[in-house]
Each structure stands twice: as C-alpha cells, then as structure tokens.
Symmetry: D3
Subunit: 136 residues, 6 copies
C-alpha cells in the first residue's frame, strides 16, 4: 500500500457567524473571524489516496487525473468564492470552518476516486493552522 498526495490551492472569503446567536455572542466567540464584511485566506489542500502501484505503470493513480478531479469537484467551485454564500455543496448555515470544509471536501471527492481509495483530506488555513480528515 502506497499513499499518494496531491496539493491544490484556492483563495476564498468567509466569516464565522451563527445566525441564532446575537452579534455580541458571535463576536465574543469567534473574535475577528466574525467580521460582518468577511475576511479571507489562501487555502492549501492536500488530497491523499492509497493503493497498490500498478505493476506496469508504477502509478497508484494518475496524479494528473487526481489533480483534475480535485479541481472539478472542489477547487473550481471554491476558488475566488465566498464560502458562506457561493458554494452549492456547503449547506447554508453550516459554519465554513476548516474542520467542516475538510469533511465536505471528502464527501465531494470520495465518490469519484476509482481504482484506489481516498485516504485523507488535509486543509491548511494559514501557516499555523490545519486540519486532517480520514472519513468515517
């Protein structure tokens, strides 16, 4: 079993804001991340698949195909977007935290991986913060 990882990147705006909470509670809990006029990030996304390398080609998966899948299923839909407003696969009202995004990206990508298995979604929000999700 070999694990193969491809990095893609996207830039997006978001805010963290619970609709059922008062402004005071939102600001107290989320701090600067609750700015009503949004802020944004350069996200780095690492997608890892696992499988046996093909005995002829030496590939677990064609990494160019993996890149295209990540783009068509995830980054084309979130790049230069507002994560609270613009993205069909992010449920309205769900906080676009790095944690929730990683889970949603898994659901978005997993049905399209063929011939090997999705292993991990790693999403970096800043150079100091990242999350990893392994499904299940």
């Amino acid at each position: 079993m070999v694990y193969l990882t491809r990095r893609e990147r996207f830039n997006a705006a978001h805010k963290l804001w619970v609709e059922d909470w008062s402004e005071e509670k939102n600001v107290a809990f989320f701090g600067k991340c609750s700015n009503r006029n949004w802020h944004g990030h350069n996200y780095e996304l690492f997608v890892t698949v696992k499988g046996e390398p093909d005995p002829v080609t030496g590939f677990v998966m064609d990494v160019k195909q993996l890149s295209k899948l990540i783009q068509s299923e995830i980054t084309d839909k979130v790049d230069h977007s507002n994560l609270n407003l613009d993205v069909g696969f992010i449920p309205k009202g769900m906080q676009p935290t790095t944690e929730n995004l990683a889970i949603l990206f898994w659901k978005q990508l997993e049905p399209h991986i063929e011939g090997c298995q999705l292993h991990c979604i790693k999403l970096c929000e800043t150079e100091n913060i990242y999350v990893e999700y392994y499904g299940g």
Copy 2:
C-alpha cells in the same frame, strides 16, 4: 548601511471592481477577482528599514518596536478586514490591488520610522505573486 526586515502577516477579503465599468467589463478584465461576493488572501508583509547599527546595541532599529509599529499602523487595521469596505486609509474607489496596498502601507508607516529610514514594502498575495515598493 545595514537593511533590516521584519515580516508580519494578515488575512483579508477584497474584490477588484471598477465602479465606472459595466459588470461585463469588470469580469472580462479582472476575471475571478471580480466576484461580487468577495474572495480573500493570507497576505505576507515584509518591511525593510536601513541605517547604521548602533555601536553599543548593534541595532539598526529595535525589531520589536518595528513589529509594534507595523501592527499599530497597518496590520491591526487590515487583519480580518474587507479591504474595499473596512479600512480608513484605503481611499474609497481605489482598487485594493497588491500594488496599491504596498504604496498605501508605505505612506501609513513612513512618518513613524525614527532613527533610520524606511527602505521597502514587500507584499505577497499568494506564493506566486508579490510586489515591492521603495517610495518616491
């Protein structure tokens, strides 16, 4: 003459949109950067000052003071902000491009540098794009 550089970081939302242009023209010129619902970046800011090291302390400038100045004059005002809407020192209608931000950051910081000279503002928008401004 020695050049001393301090890095600070901030995260912000923006869009590129000329009010006098039609939506078609904005989208044709600015592409995805014109998304009306904003997008955002992790910006890296490098501020360089120049001067002679003090013969006793060996400092061109106290880098902790430089850091505090950059924070009070620039990053406290732009971090987790919307660069088109929230920042007093960015004129309304001026495009918040990396180029214009570098010039505005220079103007913001230069009057506060004492005992040495501001030399360069370098602002990185992504790992692939940055600008440098040397004043004048």
Copy 3:
C-alpha cells in the same frame, strides 16, 4: 473524527551532555552538540488534537484557546530559555533532545485539553530533523 493542528514557535539554547560520561565520550557521542558553551535552535512545535466538530460552531476546539494553552504550558516556559538550566518541567540531567522534549511537552499539555483529545506533538529542531510523539 477531525484532527486540528496549531503551530507555535520558540527559540532556545541547549547542549547534549551526559554528566556520568567523560568529556571525550560526550564529544565522541554527541559531536558538536556537546559544545560546553551551548548552541541553539529555532524550534517549530505542531500540536494536534482530535475530536468531532461541534455541530453549531464547526470547531473541534477553539484554535485560539489551543494556542493560548500551548503558550502558557509550553512556549512561554521554553522561549528564549536554556533548556538544560531554565525550564522547571525538564528534569535535571535529562538530555533535552528533540525526542525527550516532545514527550515532556505532551505531559505538560495533555491534562489541559478539554472537550477533545491530544493526538500528537510534533517538534522540528531544524528543517532536516523532527520527531513526533502520540502518547502512551
């Protein structure tokens, strides 16, 4: 289960030196790391916690709280310190190797993590060397 990681940094001096060994044996075993006048590093510390994201906030843990905990329990105590002499939670005579530091940092932090679980302490000594400790 989602894994959330926060990076913090600190700078410290140390040396590797077994008191029961002769100088010759120390130098032979630890090489330049045994310099009696110390040397030092910029350490990078990655702390990973794991848990279910809260259904309302989307947080495994408030990453600002995690950052504060790492600072109060670890980095405030080791930053700009001498790891052999200055740090209360490092037993006298224990080598301040990256391996031992990672284990001690785990013990230092683990009792303070609430609402989720500490998963990993990763400590980077240089760009070429790092260790990971998962407890137990």
Copy 4:
C-alpha cells in the same frame, strides 16, 4: 514510542516509458513525463524511524548515523543520476515513479536500521506531489 524523521535531498533525471507500449501510447498515458530526452527533479526524502528514546542519551537513534545510512544506501546512489539508467537497485524496466522509488528506498534502507524500526519513507517529487510508504 517516538518517531524520528531525517530529511535528505537529491537531484536526478528520469522518464516514464513502458517498453512494451508504442510511442503513441506512452505519450498518451504519461504525457510530458515520457519525453525521450529525459526531464528531472529535486527530490526531497524524509525517512522516519520509531523506537523508545534511550534513557541516558535521549536518542531513538543517532540522527547523524541515520543521515549517513540514508546517504550511503540511497542518496549517494541516486544523486545526480539518471534513475532509468544509472542505479543498480532499480530493476531495469521498472518505472521510476515516485511510488516505486519509495518502495525501493524502503528495501534498500530497512536491513540497515538497528536498535529501532523503519516506519516511513516519504518522497516528494515536486512541491505538489509526494508519496508515503510504510512497508508491507
């Protein structure tokens, strides 16, 4: 159990080309990687071993010895080489993909690790692509 990682680097040329396939099929499958005149990469290799830190030295393994082993068994043999032509431990006809290289590097290094266990070979081909192999 603590995991200790050492990074080494090497630069090499290769191409991906299945001898039993026509040129058309090779180009269609491998794209630019099939250029008959070769291309190349700066590879980054991360080797992770695991074990208990020695109670006296605090070492899982002497990282300088680990570095020397990686050099003598792997990087001295692949640095500034042509991976298809020059390396004795890469079977002729096996594609020098990142996946296959990671497995071969494991086999090359594993018999020489004493006092602890080899845990992972991580090999980065570009900043966007890497593989990990854990043996077995």
Copy 5:
C-alpha cells in the same frame, strides 16, 4: 515605481559538459553535474516587472498576462525538457548553467513586455542556489 513579481515553475534535465574538454577535465571541473546520463531539477523562476500602477485598475501589469507570457515564451519550452538537447533558444554548446539560463530567459521575455519594463529574472536551481539577472 512598483515592482511586480510572478513565480512559475518547471522541471528539466541537463548536464554540464564542455565538448572541447576531455572527460577527465569535465569531471574534475563539473563534478557530479557532468554525469553523461543527465540529472535534473525542479526550477523556480521569478520574473519581476516594474512600472507605475494604472490609476484605474491599480495594475502595473495584468499578472495573468505576465503568467501567460512566461509560459508561452519560457516554461512551455523548457518544462519536462532536456536543456542541452530540446530547447530552440538555448544555443548548442552553451552550458545550461543557472547563470546562462537567466540571461537567455531575459532575452526570450523582454521583447514581449509592454506597458512596463522587465526588471529581473531570478532562477532557483535548488533551495540552496539561485541567480538573478537585471539585463545589460
């Protein structure tokens, strides 16, 4: 005057070998870089242009256009190539050193920059080695 930089990347094979020299002299002078079967690198290319930001758009130059120019004039021609054999604009017999490549890339790109000026070609061969060329 503002300086705007765009990074692009490419992977290529090369060797350093003076045809008029004996094999011994080549190996003595160029060391491992003279391997007859080639080696290769992940090159990072930083192109800097300078000019006044447009008062309406805030652009020194459209960085997407700059990216396309770098690709069409340089990286499409050198990516996944053999720099000694495959690239029309590298004179046969000229050593494909980082120095010479930077000068050739300047000549390749400079005639196509309009509305501002080419300022610098920076080319990184490894994380430890890079060159800069400012024309003239």
Copy 6:
C-alpha cells in the same frame, strides 16, 4: 552582470547584553534576548557574488567553491557555537546581533572571493527577521 547566491545554515547560541549597563537596563532594552543563560537560533545565511559568467563554463563562480569558502571562513567557526564566547572573529563586547554578524561575515569572506565580487550577505535569524549588508 549576473548575481549568484548560495545558502548555508548554522545553529548557535547567543545573548544580547551590554556589559556597561545594569541588569535592569539590559532586560528593559533587550527583553527576553538578554536571558543570562543564553538562547539560540537556526540561522540561514545567503551569500551573493556578482560577475560575468565565464564564456566556456557558464559560471560566475564555482558554487561548490563558494560553499566551501563560506564553510571554512564562516559556518565552520559559528556552527554549534556560542556567538558571545566561542568565535575568534567576533570582537569581545560586540553585541552578536544579526546586523553585526552580517557585517563581520562580510569582512570574513570578502578577501577570499576571487574572479568575481562579493555583493551581499543576507542573514535570517527567524522566519520573521533578517538583515542584508552590501559592504561599505
């Protein structure tokens, strides 16, 4: 004229402390950097030389020779050292600030550069702080 840069690295301990000042004044001015038991850093050193590439070899300078010079004249003397106590070319009582180190490194290296000219010493103390010195 082409500019060629080589990176080398070293790890060292130091403190900032003016002997003629009281402990209070030292702590007030230098903060945590005045810890009497030292602290330390992973320093990154970038040395830039400039010249015309040789028409036959394409080299401004043999970068392996530049690396050896930097090691013999600088990094072999400061690596794993205490910059206040152990280094012959650092005058006693001179603060080992990044600024002063850059100037001293220039003086140490400049007489040994032949066939081209030393252009810049860049020294990074942390990922957030660096200095540059161009001589004179």
